[in-house]
Amino acid sequence: MNNSNDPNHTKPDWIKSAVNELDDSVASMDPIDGSRLRTARQMAYREAESQRQEGWAAGLGNWLNWKSGLTLACTIAIVATMTLNLDQPLENVTATPLAKPKVGIEMIPLLTAKEDLEFYESINFLLWLENKQGKS
């Protein structure tokens, strides 16, 4: 009995003949077909290499796009921190960081305000006048 599902089993003669014919057809393949196959393989290799390089470049590009934003943000943060720290003497930073700010806290609203400086001067004058009248 032939077991068609087991090629290791003794094959019937007609299958052996068919397999031999297939082998012979490959061995005696038209040289033009063989040459075309070789060329096809070389083209496949080149195409695969170029695709691989394009893929690598695209991957690097994506990586750079994603990383560059993060790197830029980190750089700005580090530079800003270093700049602020360099403005202060080291002993002040370690001992009393808020002891002697160069710019008084009370001046910040004055400096950042949009109102005219004369407006604050007039308020100061009115406060002084009120104090003087109160004393008198």
Binding site: N5, A18, M29, A44, Y45
Partner: protein
């Protein structure tokens, strides 16, 4: 059994050893030299790109899996083209016979009677017998009996269960036996 007991270390050497047999399988199924060559070239390209890093013991079933998929794609596009041509011909008949440019595109060799005759003449009885089988049975027969893949490897290549491989192989065996056994007995 094939002479692929030792698998080469490099993908290029592996493919160099496979290309002729792969071309033969593709040609039997597609019955067109150019399409068979395209199928093999695409398969080799995919192997270079995707599977160069895989262990070389996996290459053979993967190679035939890609080739089978590629041949299936060719069959599908061929079927689609035939349907398209059918509709175009029907429309042309309705238009009173005006010639459309798409009609001038040649089909596969097997579609045109004069080429069909040439093709059949160039194909051996063996090729014709295998070509007449359903594609899955062709695959099962060629991969198991000619390429010597195991049932498991054939199942990977055909993307089906080992049970399906056995079923396809059994059917192919019975069909081919009726056509090839008398042929080889007559000529031996």
């Amino acid at each position: 059994m094939t002479d692929f007991e030792t698998i080469p270390d490099t993908m290029d050497a592996f493919l160099a050893g496979m290309e002729k047999r792969a071309y033969r399988i593709a040609y039997i199924s597609l019955n067109d030299r150019d399409e068979a060559l395209d199928a093999v070239q695409d398969t080799m390209m995919r192997m270079f790109i995707k599977y160069s890093d895989k262990p070389n013991t996996d290459w053979r079933p993967l190679f035939y899996k890609i080739l089978s998929n590629r041949i299936t794609d060719s069959h599908r596009s061929h079927t689609l083209r035939k349907r398209l041509q059918f509709f175009i011909k029907r429309d042309k008949a309705g238009d009173g016979g005006s010639v459309d440019a798409i009609d001038l595109i040649p089909g596969r060799a097997g579609e045109q009677p004069q080429n069909q005759m040439q093709s059949d003449a160039s194909m051996s009885v063996l090729d014709q017998s295998i070509n007449a089988l359903p594609f899955r049975q062709q695959q099962a027969f060629l991969l198991r009996h000619w390429e010597g893949l195991s049932t498991q490897e054939t199942a990977i290549a055909m993307r089906c269960s080992t049970g399906s491989v056995k079923t396809h192989l059994s059917r192919a065996f019975n069909t081919l036996k009726t056509s090839l056994q008398p042929y080889y007995e007559h000529y031996e």
